[in-house]
Symmetry: D5
Subunit: 165 residues, 10 copies
């Protein structure tokens, strides 16, 4: 017996469906949301995405990153397969690391109107340096805005050891 | 010499008993509580549960997770063998990751009426993404409600490295 | 030249002595204290104890744990060899994990009257689950009582990965 | 452009198909093979399977293992989705660890008639002990039979550290 | 459906039974064997035992070790619960590390008459030094005797890093 | 002072050049070789390539792998920037894991005519399973052919732990 | 399609350009900035730099460090290739570890006028000791000045284990 | 060109000098200070010292520790070679772990009059237990005194795993 | 009950004795042997010694190493406490790393006349380089002499990663 | 008392001397040898060198590597400080990775005439790929020539995981 009945999942057109078209150019429209069944509670949903790739906007060289995405949902959760397709749609898209991370956060804010959201991208190095942008957001005018400020204050106090190997 | 006498453990019907029936469909009724002998003190009890498995509600594909459960007991502790049977009862049950984690917390609140409780589920990836919901709760109208809010604020400030291998 | 003269260590009957009797039934009386020479300062003393073993009170099966003990001394330090003998005295003693950790803290409070103390026990799994109780204490009516509350609030925000191997 | 044309994949009825029925009782018939396009060469194909679960034949308690499967193909490769379904079919099946590992090897020998095959199962502990059976096989009367004997000789010369956590 | 029928497990009196008596003085008689169903094949069965403890024969101080036991069965497998009880029976027994490891191997040879067997004990340090005896054996007059000699030759070529922490 | 003069590097058109065109469809023609200055000696050159990505030939879903390439050169070394471009050219190309690894080895044999070469691809999981093909080759009729057979015999005797996280 | 058009990148003279001159004496003038497109938001940009080397001012012996640089941009981002050239310019420059880290922070404050910036250098040991200076800064008279003070307070609460190997 | 001219380093008699006398009995007089060139700023200087050894005051047995020393300088930095000699001077000196750590902090306060300082010693085990004292200090009557209290509050919230191996 | 009776341990004057004099100048005479009770069998005894320290013969600077000692005993085992005292006796002794390792092996050959012995010393770096001598020996004219040659051939095929931190 | 008298170290002009000139252009002449006092025995001396840096011969960009050097000495050992100066002399020298490793081996063969020598360089990545050349050598016409061939055969059978972070 499944915990959700079909009537609770009208938007889930992708999960369990064969007709998946992988789009390889930036496609925010592919994102889908489903209902959050636990809106009475603040809780975190986290997605680990170690298979992110895009292109350098100047050299066209492929870039690679692991993304760590976490949010406190309000009315909506992001449907996981649509998130996969969205992230994969950056495959042949060119943009700077700092811009890519901001864009993804903006698109998910638009889709989910979350109470809180954050995204940390950790890219592989080019020329010996690697870049790891971190963006977060709390709904303006709520306690979550203050939460975003607090989590930025505590961000990355213990940097992971990096030796490019 | 055992520190607890038998009269202090009237509810423990499972531990040390042979007649264990493993239930493989969601069975909250199997949960049992025992008395907390140290109610004068706030302390944490933590259960590490790396052997959790359930089913995807749409595809019926098995899902796997490690659960990290922590709580500050009030009058009751969860009896460990009954917790094992309860978690194992999700084996052939289908539900979304976010729902499973919320349901387990709700059942334990009902059983234990704890001062504070939290649960972090870390699932294996499907399609390159893994999902890690985190839910917590403090008894409403007490300082533990504020504690839950604080721990949510500090949650996962240093994400563990994930590469799907 | 040793930093402590003999007259400062009148209670140390165990360290460097051959007549060690290992007691294997719970023996709080074996604990000994020595003077803290730095009472003007708050500082932590920590003991790592990966060789703790006791018995399950119902099945008599041996249990194993690593204990992490930390305290801010007031007038007294625990003499390290007596602590070893005390912890070893649980060897053939049966008690639940949650009770064992509370009992050890209680005994050390009685011995040392510390400003602050905490103990985290991490046990090996039985039936796929492992239990890690954490108990702390600050001297009532002092700032250390508040410190205990604060450290409970921050406890285990980043659970260690567990896979039972 | 895909490297294999459709005519080279007539047996692949599962990959990319929606109609997946997950069987949870031992089902060797679900296994499917595809052609090895590189039969002129000895090479290894390895599958890492950290999501294996079965039942204890006496207590019905769930068991968990990570399987490491490697083989040198002859005419056939195992189709990866069918291997997943086959391994998942042990979900509600009861058998001893040593038997499970032998049975899987036997089924894959029957399906693939491989030049060489080996399987290492690493189970989570019960009662403080974990069991890791390792089975291998080389086609009788060929040099691969000798290879199996050699690899058994070199097996696990550096055991991984295990502490049940 | 379980893979072994009851008639194939006549000796298994311990697994799934409540009447377990834990013996804490060296008790080789507790060991039980079950039939090996795959005698046509050479394969390894390995037991990881991180919860071994005995006593120092001179000081009576508890010693702790992780044991790594591997064997190629002939007619018999060791029943896992009886192995647990046997290893636990060293709990209050005093012997040197080198002797303990040799004795366990001797007892298992007597029980199983295995084709090949090896045991590596890794003890915690005393006085800054730790001791790790390794013993192996192949049935005399067979190719397994040569196998034992070969595996001794290749033993521990890459020592694990040790810093006593 | 550079150790190689320009006349020794006539083929290096890519390294240090701005006009890099990244090709994202399988392009073996982009590979370039340079002279091996140490042909009197057998030695290994190894490339670690953690940024490999291609497509699944049936579902078009992106696949990701880390490649470990090693060879003993004869007359030629592979120019490192051309190797990067060649591997990046699989970006939008669809093929099975086993085929991709064989194809890369074949192309490098054609380019370099090496004494010995091997390639190990470690892919991220799909549906809980990951696939790691390993292919090697020694020049036929030379001692390196025997070397390839030997290294296949010793391949992956200590599988790395995999838990899909 | 690249996310930034050319007109948004007028200062990027280095990235994708062949005419790179590596300067090996301290050259702050090589630093270049680009526009921050997300000034409405506080977010972190982090650079991991494991390839830093300079000279000891007294002995001229080469020193090596990994640098961890993080900042919250105001109007400007540092162009990554110019940062690489700047850091590489310390190659033949002599200075004490504490001074090097302060100088780099000063130069980046001058270039970027950031809201917040921090730099942690972790050097390899000389004579058994290694030195890890950590410097941070928040724009005076803003909330970021308080942020710098807070992050200094929380700095390095869990020192990484160091054994000089 | 070195960043410090000779006139800024009048006290550095040890670094780059051949006449080093290693003293093996507690010698606080060997410590030397140099000027802090960045007094306008609060920043951390950290020394990792994994090669500390002293003697047990009762048994004369050598003790070993890794020291982690961090401070915010005021007018003075500790000269690194003199720190090495000072720490090495404990080599044949006997004292309890708790006393050694307090003494070193006291000597450095006397030498440097720092704004803030902390020292964590992690010793290897004796009799199965290891001791890790942690001492800190902030200049009395300044905000750094409060900082010391805060950092003691946050000290060691995530104890490192210890198994004595 | 201890496994060895007192009459089998006549030489053990140190273990369990209080009158331990720690000698800090090279003292091979402190070494003691005990009888090997299992002479009918070839087996390994290994000692991990992470607390070794000596002096540089030219600069008098302390050196630190972890020693890995393994041997196949003939008639004698080394008594573990005497080994500790012997190794500690190098504390104030000056010698080159290569010489220290050879000398220890020579002394143990003289004491034990072992069938096989090996010693690997891993020192901490000086000036950025660390030195790890490895010495082994097999009894001349026996198969163990060939064993030593073979183990030298296989020595350190997979060097541990070193970064001096 | 030092184990080597001065008359045994006539060539050691660098160790313990102040007049060190660091040369930053390839300087094989700086290498010095000392006598091997244990020529009757085959043993390994290993140097770990994580601080190697040179330049790319085409782009002049700094390259970084960790070197693992091992040899069996004949009459001579390499003096460790001279080895450091020699390796540091590559600092401003440009050469391909494959050439650098061959050159260092050639220079050490010329200096030491060793029985056996090997060198593995592990460089940091450029453009996503890292290169790790491995060169070895055994004295021609001796058993060490065969040893070199054997060790090449066994080289890097278990590649270390690389992810460029
Ligand atoms: Ca991972
Ligand atoms: Ca684990
Ligand atoms: Ca794991
Ligand atoms: Ca573990
Ligand atoms: Ca552990
Ligand atoms: Ca361990
Ligand atoms: Ca360790
Ligand atoms: Ca270590
Ligand atoms: Ca993993
Ligand atoms: Ca280290
Ligand atoms: Ca450890
Ligand atoms: Ca290291
Ligand atoms: Ca490293
Ligand atoms: Ca890595
Ligand atoms: Ca990784
Ligand atoms: Ca790394």
């Amino acid at each position: 017996m499944a915990g959700r009945t079909d009537c609770q999942m009208p938007d889930v057109t992708l999960l369990g469906s064969e007709n998946t078209d992988y789009l390889f150019e930036y496609s925010p429209g592919v994102l889908e949301a489903i209902d959050n069944l636990h809106t009475e509670r603040d809780y975190f949903v986290k997605f680990n995405c170690p298979e992110f790739t895009s292109l350098c906007p100047k050299t066209n060289q492929p870039d690679f990153a692991t993304l760590y995405l976490s949010f406190i949902p309000d009315k909506k959760l992001v449907e996981s397969k649509s998130l996969k397709l969205y992230l994969f749609s950056f495959r042949n898209h060119g943009d700077f690391h700092e811009d890519v991370i901001n864009i993804i956060v903006n698109d998910l804010i638009e889709l989910l109107d979350p109470r809180y959201i954050e995204l940390w991208g950790k890219f592989t190095p080019r020329g010996g340096l690697s870049i790891d942008p971190y963006v977060n957001y709390g709904k303006p005018g709520t306690k979550y805005e203050k939460m975003a400020e607090q989590r930025l204050l505590y961000h990355d106090l213990h940097p992971e050891p990096i030796d490019n190997r």
